[in-house]
Amino acid sequence: MEKTESSVLVIGGGVAGIQASLDLADKGVIVHLVEKTPSIGGRMAQLDKTFPTNDCSICILAPKMADCFGHPNINVWTMSEVVGLEGSRGNFKAKVLKKARYVDENKCTGCGECLEKCPTKELPNTWEQKLTTRRAIYMQFMQAVPRVAVIDPENCRFLLEGKCGVCKKVCKREAIDYEQKDVEMEFNVAAVVVATGFDVWDPTPSTEYGYGKYPNVFTAMEYERIINAAGPTHGHIQRRSDGNEPATMAYIQCVGSRNLKTGHPYCCSVCCMHSTKESMLAREHIEGIKSTIFYKDMRACSKGFNEYVERNKRDYGVEYINSDATVQGQKENGNPIVSFDIAGKSQQREFDMVVLATTLVPAKGNVELAKTLGIELDEFQFFKALDHTLEPISSSRPGVYLAGYCAGPMDIPESVAMGSAAAAKAMEALVQRKVFA
């Protein structure tokens, strides 16, 4: 296999970015995979199971993450962000800022000693949707790749005041380096693949759902972490108010999506399926649990999806009610009261627990990144394709390609497919450079 001189920059270490990197690397291209957080894996690593196969999400992702990290042609740069992109297709100069982790990636073995000794506790763990806490030195999640600790500079006593230093003392490999600085790097690349994914919308402003007010109302992502065996409750479904197991659960669809008022009029495309999956899984965790899904329309379009939904109704006894719903009160025992409409009659029913299928929104950093990369955003702040119908992979700037949810709502298989497509398009830039060189 002839190694080419030129390389490709992949921005975003989620499943789309990982797939694009592996595809390119297997063809002999050098890939610079830039990931903002301390570990690759993205949203798929946060999920419990994937629909419609109910595969364990991290189990099918981790081999790819390991392959990616260990691949001789892929350079994984975590804690990094792209801060500049100059040049043109075939000949870009990308500026990447790698933020200090304060832990030497070459020395840390991920043994975890420092994690237990850090005195600064009770920091909200955003990866676990704030359902549990972490310390100032932490591992993003247990299967993190690279399996290296990271120090939070805004809460570390040593970095702020010069006190403590316990982690350095207990580290047997001398991997802690408080002096570490942010590093600016430059890469010459032929093409760029953007795969920055999505954020989960916070439903607190929509007070009709009572999120934040009623403790037993959860977002779907919180719920994924709860049912995950490696999550904060070790896979036990528990209510926030009293830790009890629910006997009845409600899932409310289209929370924030398909809604002109919240500014997200698009359909997030996955929540009908993930609520189906979650209610199915609930049955496997708690025998006899009765779940109800409140939906506007049931969007089960791809291969195996409709059968999945029917199976849920038939074999798992999940009730599907065609009505939007809101949560406007709770009983004294903490049961949220769900209000809905059947055939024009307003109804109220109490449930032990409510899961909101909150919409997924373009990542916060998209606006900045679009400016940095010189590509256009659409009216919802997803990255805009060159042509919606016939050039969905190319962005508005030649040489910059799009993959995954950052380009528009899609599920995991679609993101993987688009990752491969973006890799193929990126190859064009490389090959053409070679032809015209």
Partner: protein
């Protein structure tokens, strides 16, 4: 396109996806399960116009606009109800009005052309002008205070309070004896013809004074001028402001000073000021500036519970239940007064509180429902 088809299209009824969110939030539907905003829109979509026009439930809607506010597809349900009521009345589907319709008759009578005595509240210490930049639209507050003497006598003092506050800030507003009712109750009870007459009279009266800004203490008058008048006439030649917005600007300029107060109050967001016009923060800012302690009820701002009666055309047990729920929330705050800018809310809550046979839960409710403008005037430095 027929008139009905235009009403349905203007309301955006064809955007409705029948999700039912409106019905899940509707305060009337919760108490009366036979009423559902979704069904009315669906029937209209399906072309069942005559059924919609003949439906008595078109009068059950309290037009609180919580459905409008929450609809993911921005269907204008209250606008649809307003215009359908005009059609309904034409074919004999009339509401059962409170007080046998006396309020509407009084409102119509203001506009018959006779010389009224609207300024009986104007005492010598209050300074007003006949022409000028700022017009204070007094509305029917005084008249309602007379009509509902047993429930809302303090409404008689509202115009004087507002003028007193404006004078204290160095402003002499224009007031006119030629004002007529803004027409709010008439257009919401299906009487478009009289509404138009009243509207044109008011706009003429204001134009004649040369005013550039018209200030309202009444939430309903404010909404009617801002939305309904502009729907009919297009842009008006003057700016329309609510007293809470106007006073807040004056307070920020340091033109108003208040007495020290240890009052603890709660604030009721009336539908017309809140959901209809989006004015939520200004009254709260005024209370902050007055250093009055505000204890919020559980349902506030865009989720505030409506007082249950709309244009005196929808009073029923449903209204009573809504009023009861709200007063119990107010009681729960432990404050002594619930302030509101809407004279109708004041009347309806006091109607429940002064009933001879009150609901048992109201027995220990010690809350006073008070007009906000009067409250501000009472707390002015140097004031009574």
């Amino acid at each position: 396109m027929t008139k009905i088809e235009k009403i349905i299209e203007d309301a955006g009824a064809f955007d409705c996806v029948e999700c039912g969110k409106c019905t899940s939030l509707c305060p009337v539907a919760k108490i009366n399960p036979n009423f559902a905003p979704r069904l009315i829109v669906v029937k209209a979509q399906a072309g069942m116009e005559s059924e919609v026009k003949a439906d008595k439930d078109i009068w059950s809607c309290v037009t609180c606009e919580i459905c409008n506010d929450m609809c993911p597809y921005e269907v204008d349900f209250s606008g649809f109800i307003q215009r359908m009521r005009g059609e309904a009345v034409d074919m004999g589907n009339s509401p059962v009005c409170s007080e046998a319709g006396a309020v509407h008759t009084m409102q119509r009578l203001t506009g018959k052309g006779q010389k009224q005595n609207r300024l009986l509240w104007l005492t010598d210490d209050l300074k007003v002008k006949d022409n000028g930049d700022v017009f204070f639209f007094t509305g029917c507050a005084y008249q309602l205070g007379v009509l509902f003497k047993d429930k809302a006598e303090e409404l008689k003092r509202v115009p004087a309070s507002v003028v007193k506050i404006l004078n204290a800030a160095g402003i002499e507003p224009v007031v006119s004896n030629n004002e007529v009712c803004c027409g709010h109750d008439l257009i919401w009870s299906g009487n478009e013809a009289v509404f138009e007459e009243l509207m044109r009279k008011n706009v003429e009266t204001i134009k004649a004074t040369g005013a550039k800004t018209v200030v309202f203490s009444c939430a309903e008058g404010y909404r009617t001028f801002s939305i309904d008048y502009q729907d009919f006439l297009g842009d008006l030649d003057f700016e329309v402001k609510h007293i809470s917005e106007y006073l807040l600007d004056l307070i920020k300029e340091g033109k108003l000073e208040f007495k020290d107060s240890n009052a603890k109050v709660t604030y009721h967001d009336s539908c017309r000021l809140g959901r209809h016009m989006g004015v939520y923060e200004q009254p709260r800012e005024i209370l902050k500036a007055m250093k009055v302690e505000l204890v919020e009820m559980p349902s506030i701002k865009d989720k505030a519970i409506c007082c249950g009666v709309n244009a005196f055309a929808s009073c029923s047990e449903v209204s009573r239940k809504m009023q009861l729920d709200r007063l119990l929330e107010a009681k729960g705050t432990g404050t002594s007064a619930m302030l509101t800018f809407c004279p109708k809310c004041l009347i309806h809550y006091n109607c429940l509180l002064t009933m001879e046979k009150k609901p048992l839960e109201l027995d220990k409710v010690e809350i006073n429902v008070r007009d906000f403008s009067n409250f501000i005037a009472e707390n002015l430095k140097g004031g009574k």
